[in-house]
Each structure stands twice: as C-alpha cells, then as structure tokens.
C-alpha cells in the first residue's frame, strides 16, 4: 500500500531523514517510534506530500506520489502533531469546510464523525476554546472526513491527560480496524497496545522494523541473570561464572549483607540456569537468589536509539 524507498531529507546541512526504507501493507497499523527529533514527523510529512524528499521515492498503491500529489493526498487522512486548526472557526463549520475541500458529503459525514469522535457537545464551540483532547478529536475527525484508506497521525496522544489518552487510543483502534494507519509516538506502551508493527527511527535512520510481538524476540533476546550466593568472594564468583558457556560478561550488583551478588549478561539463547546451579553446588556455595531478567522493551528501545544500531 505504502512503499518508502531510500528516502532522505535534508534541511540545509542537517540530514533529518537518512536513507529510510519501509513499506506498509493494507490494513496494517504501524507505529513510528523514536525519540524526539528522530525524524518521525519529517517522514510523515513526506508521505503526506507536505515535504518533498531530497532523494528517494514514496509510492502509494504503486504510484509515485510526486506524479499526482492531489490524488495521492486525497487517499490520505493526516493529522499533524497538536492538530493545528483554525481556532476562530466553530467545529461544525470547520468540518463542513474540510468536507467541501475534500468533495465529501458534509450532510452525511459531519454528524456521523461528530458522534464517532465524541464531538456532539462541542460542535458549536470555537476550536480555539476547546481543550487539547477535544482539539485532537477534531483533528481526527478532520482526517477521517474523506473516508481515507490511509490514516497518518502524528503523536495523536501527546499532551493529553491519561483519560483522554485512553479515549483517543480506543478511537484509533476502532478506526484502524478497517484502514491502514501510521502513527508516530515516543510512548512504547502505545505501540504495544495499538500497532501490528513497529518501525523504530533514531537519528533519521531505521533502527528496527519488526512486528510488535516479535520486537522482543528479535532485539530483546539479550537477558541477564542476577544471582546472590554466600560462601565466596566476588572475584571467585566472577571468575567461575565467566568460564561458563553463553556468558558474555559478569558485573557487580547490589548485594545484601554477607552475600555476594553478580549480574551475568547472557549472549546466547541457551538457558544457563542449570549450569549456574551446578557451579554453585560444586563449589559448595549457598544459593540465595537466581533471577532471570529479560530486557524490557524500554531497554530494547534505549539500546536501539542510543547506539544508533542498524537492523
């Protein structure tokens, strides 16, 4: 449905997006995840035709969007971050205006979207007087008016309070059942909750691209084992653990009084717990604690975005 091929975008001497390629299938909900300034918004602006890429190609339905920008734009519903809308207009007028620009039937669409997006009570208020949550929903209604096949939402939940976040997420989930959706966010749990696939962008490059469920398995396989024993010194424990297969490193960690604690980094997929147990037993130490800690998705995100690692 959407193909992004080797797309880069420069602003002066700054390369905001660097050779990014990914594609989005029909019906997928894809999350663009990355720290602030990673290039998410620039990427979205290029897909929506608001910015041209400096190099590379963006195709929608197999067609280069720069060939016929208007017809490509007609397929997309887009809401920029913080939903910049005309503050002096009332919601009803605004949605009718968008419907007219889109050539959609305002009489049918506006009341429908008002109820879908929960705007019925504020239809006659000025957009500028609405709370952020309501403004975000007006933005959502704005992007849905032409019944787009593709919905692109830039940080749809930023600046909302927890209740509003849940409402907007549910709305997106509902809407996303029948559409192709790209959302950008820097909130991990949001991606886990909403998206089928996640593309992690860091410093303009793609750091990871994987189905949300597999992100952990693919990038989070590194785990660590925390153990606490008594009856030995730290150096003896460290030395013994380092000799085990599958151990990539051993470091000191906080320990209770009279106990020796170590954090073991595991490199392979092999479960080293039985070996650790036998090691402790052979040496006559007493095992107080052994806990396998999988790196959380936050750790995965942090590793990928700080190291600028490539997949």
């Amino acid at each position: 449905m959407i193909e992004i091929e080797n797309v880069s975008r420069d602003f002066g001497s700054v390369r905001a997006v660097d050779n990014v390629s990914f594609s989005v299938q029909k019906g997928e909900i894809v999350g663009l995840l990355g720290p602030n300034g990673a290039g998410k918004t620039t990427t979205m602006r290029m897909i929506t035709g608001f910015l041209d890429p400096s190099s590379g190609l963006i195709k929608i339905d197999g067609q280069d969007i720069s060939a016929d920008p208007k017809s490509s734009k007609a397929k997309i519903g887009y809401m920029p971050e913080s939903a910049p809308l005309y503050g002096e207009m009332i919601v009803d007028d605004y949605l009718r205006y968008v419907a007219a620009v889109q050539g959609a039937d305002a009489e049918a669409k506006v009341p429908l979207l008002a109820s879908v997006c929960g705007l019925t009570e504020v239809m006659h208020k000025n957009i500028g007087d609405l709370s952020r949550g309501y403004r975000q929903r007006v933005g959502l209604a704005h992007s849905l008016i032409n019944d787009p096949e593709i919905l692109i939402l830039d940080e749809p939940t930023s600046g909302l309070d927890p209740n509003q976040i849940i409402e907007v997420r549910n709305l997106i989930k509902e809407i996303g059942k029948t559409r192709t959706v790209i959302i950008s966010t820097h909130i991990l749990s949001e991606v886990e909750m909403l998206c089928d696939r996640v593309v992690i962008i860091s410093r303009g490059k793609i750091a990871a691209d994987s189905p949300t469920g597999e992100l952990h398995a693919r990038y989070g396989h590194k785990a660590s084992l925390r153990i606490q024993v008594s009856g030995c010194t730290l150096s003896a424990l460290t030395k013994a653990l380092k000799n085990l297969p599958g151990v990539s490193g051993v470091s000191q960690t906080e320990n209770e009084t009279n106990l020796t604690a170590a954090l073991v980094s595991i490199s392979g997929d092999e479960d080293i717990r039985p070996n650790v147990f036998s090691l402790v037993k052979e040496n006559g130490w007493i095992l107080y604690e052994m806990a396998l800690q999988r790196n959380s998705l936050e750790d995965v995100f942090r590793t990928l975005t700080t190291a600028g690692a490539e997949s």
Partner: protein, 240 residues
C-alpha cells in the same frame, strides 16, 4: 464544475468568513473610510468642484497601507499556527490555495470601496461630475487592489511574522504608489522607464477615463507574477 476551481472557491469562502469574524478587518475598513473621507472632503468644498479626482489621486497611497494590513495575516498566520500543514495536506495545490485566498482579499477590498460610492452620490447631487471617468476610476481601483493584494499575499507567504509581512508589502506598494512623485528630482532620461513601473501613473491614466491596454496589462501582470511567486513559495516547502 472543474474540481480545481471549486476547491479555490471553498477556500475563498472560508477566508472571507474569517475576515468578517476578525476585528482587524473592521478596523482596517473603518480607518480606510475615515482617512479617505477626510482626504476627500477636506479639499472637496475648498476646490468647490464636485468630482472624485482627489479621492482617486490618493487611493494608491491609501491602498499601499490598507491592503497589506489585510493580507499580512493570510499566510503568515497559517504558517505560525501550523494550519498551513493541515491545509496543504488536503488535496489542495499551491495554486488552489493562493487563488482562493486572493479572491477573498480581492472581494474584501472591493467591499471596502462600496461605502465610498457615497462620495459619488454626493458629487452627483451637488454638481455634474464626469460619470464615465468615475466608473473608470473604480475599475482602476479594482485593478490596483488586485495588484497590491498579490504583492501583500506574497509578502505574507514569506514569513511567519505578520508585522514583517505588513512592512515588506507596505514598502513595495508605497514605492510603486509614490515613485512618480519622486521622479521630479531625476533627469528626464530615466523618468520614462521609471514612470512605467509606477502604479499611480497607470492608475491615474485609467481614472482619467482612458482605458489603455498597457495600463491594464501592467496591473494584470503584477497580479499574476506575484500570485505565481506566492504559489511557488507556498509549494516550496515541498521542494527539496
């Protein structure tokens, strides 16, 4: 109806509505009427001639101030608030947006002239002015406002700051409006070509009742060139 035209019309309608809901538009219209009224009537009885020549002769200077005051907001505000992004990601081209907004400004400026028809009524009641040349004067005023609106829109599309947009457009318009008055200081050899770029010169020639295609072409080409530049600037965010 061709879709391009209808999108421009939708944008025009919205823009006009936002003019009429903004206090700036009323202040500008009010001040315009006050100033043009003072300047019209202050000499009206002194000269003791029932004609609008005086009104028309100061119109370029008035428009040089008031038209940029109307256009300054149009693109600059959209760029500042970010709503330009919501507009340009709808199926709208730069030309659609510029044409729609231009028509709105043009209609608004034309509506600003409507109350000045009372000067015509006064003149006709008190004397027998040349109605033909008054008609030509209003026609010229429309061409003049179109050209200044285009310049104002271009200035507005270049910046996020309305004040900057206003002064840039005001400077350009006032130069076009006043250049022929500064020409007395210059040698005759360069007066001719400089006179040709003066908006007042062409406007006066129309308002005297002579409709010369060169004068119309002057205003039309100013309008088209600046609207074209504006469309390019609005689209330029999309060009790498």
């Amino acid at each position: 109806m061709n879709p391009k035209k209808s999108v421009s019309l939708v944008i025009m309608k919205r823009e006009l509505a936002s003019f009429y809901t903004s206090p700036v538009a009323y202040i500008v219209t009010g001040l315009f009427l006050v100033f043009s009224g003072i300047l019209f009537f202050s000499t009206y009885f002194l000269v003791n001639r029932a004609e609008l020549r005086n009104f028309f002769s100061i119109l370029p200077v008035l428009f040089a101030f008031f038209v940029p005051a109307l256009t300054m907001r149009v693109f600059a505000e959209e760029k500042r608030s970010g709503s330009l992004e919501t507009l340009m990601t709808l199926p709208v081209s730069g030309v659609d947006a510029v044409v729609g907004k231009f028509l709105a400004v043009f209609i608004f400026t034309a509506s600003m002239l409507v109350p000045t028809l009372s000067y015509v009524v006064t003149s006709v009641a008190l004397g027998s002015p040349d109605v033909g040349s008054i008609f030509c004067g209003y026609l010229g005023a429309l061409f003049l406002s179109a050209a200044f609106s285009a310049i104002g829109l271009f200035a507005s599309s270049l910046t996020k700051n309305q004040i900057v947009a206003f002064f840039a457009a005001f400077t350009a318009c006032i130069v076009l409006a006043m250049i022929d008055r500064l020409l007395v200081l210059l040698p005759a050899a360069i007066v001719g070509p400089l006179e040709f770029i003066s908006a007042s010169y062409h406007f006066e020639s129309i308002s005297r009742g002579i409709i010369d295609t060169r004068d119309l072409l002057y205003f039309l080409s100013l309008t088209v060139v600046f609207l074209g530049l504006t469309a390019r600037t609005v689209d330029a965010r999309r060009v790498a």
